[in-house]
Symmetry: C2
Subunit: 201 residues, 2 copies
């Protein structure tokens, strides 16, 4: 397995791995989908600018997002061990490392075939098709499609103070966050595929 940017020590991080399936959609279809979100090369520029701002804040961001999840029982249940009703710490740690890497991958914005395949895998890992399988965990068997899509707002909306730490002008911060909104919606769209009826996606 190719090592993507020193990530070989992250359990279950399979971007570029031959063990995951090819995305059911093509790069041409991804290109149309980007157009549907108005995602352009300029967004890539601003995402990459955000990389430098966020690269040392990924752990803090994940801690913040998990704080939101912990505050809401209907979200917290997704990472609780169903046998004990307690948070599954081992699962949480592995998922957390991948979540941090996701911040970096989103900001790096190398949205190629490997990345596209891994988006499909991420969707499957939220859906009953593959949830828990990667980590051999016993948490809730499925993340509701509604929460998968809706939580994308809880990801991007609170990012502003973190993006501001780079010392860029308010206009540049706006533009970075806009690129994050678009990328987030692009990704959650891809993740929703396993949830949809045949032919509906």
């Amino acid at each position: 397995m190719e090592d993507h940017h020193g990530t070989k020590d992250i359990p279950g991080y399979d971007l570029g791995s031959p063990t995951i399936a090819k995305s059911p959609i093509s790069l041409d279809e991804l290109s149309d989908l980007k157009a549907s979100t108005l995602f352009t090369d300029e967004d890539v520029v601003y995402l990459r600018l955000s990389y430098d701002v966020l690269k040392d804040q990924a752990e803090e961001l994940v801690t913040m997002w998990r704080g939101i999840i912990a505050l809401h029982p209907h979200l917290a249940e997704y990472s609780q061990d169903e046998r004990t009703g307690e948070p599954d710490k081992e699962y949480g740690e592995k998922v957390g490392k991948r979540f941090e890497q996701w911040v970096l991958d989103t900001a790096r914005a190398e949205y190629d075939q490997d990345w596209l395949n891994y988006q499909y895998e991420i969707g499957l890992r939220h859906h009953r098709a593959k949830k828990n399988k990667t980590d051999g965990a016993h948490t809730a068997a499925h993340i509701r499609g509604r929460d998968l899509i809706a939580f994308s707002a809880a990801i991007v909306s609170p990012m502003r103070p973190y993006l501001e730490k780079g010392g860029h002008s308010a206009e540049v911060v706006n533009r970075m966050q806009e690129a994050w909104w678009k990328s987030m919606i692009l990704q959650v769209t891809l993740w929703s595929q396993p949830y949809m009826k045949d032919g509906d996606f």
Copy 2:
């Protein structure tokens, strides 16, 4: 049928109509879903502030969004008459009036049971379940789920210059647009329900 804010002349605009189905999700579930997007009463305040800014710009906004659609064949096909390959003008006009009213309804932020029911109806009208039925049209039979979700970014991202016309500070404009992002994602989540497999939503 109750007349919602002088909308009785908009063909097929059925917010509050007894002819549409009750939403499959409850107001309690909507409350959880709002939490998943971090949507709060403060967002309602900023959406209502945006109402005054946008109320005379709804037609311009819809024209702008349709310009984006027209530029992309994979989106333009959704409103073309399949018998002629040309845009269906009558369909376009009716949908356009409802689209303008949607701007006002989103900004008014009265997200009650009537509103919730109508979100389900809006989802059905994008899906093969009910597309074309309201207007007796012959356009594409189904809007792909991917474009339904992805286009939410194309709705909110270009709104900034319109929101700026109210003369509010950049901070207030940011906050209004953030409320729009959250509401948009909340709504597109609700609209996705008819697309999802039983039990997955």
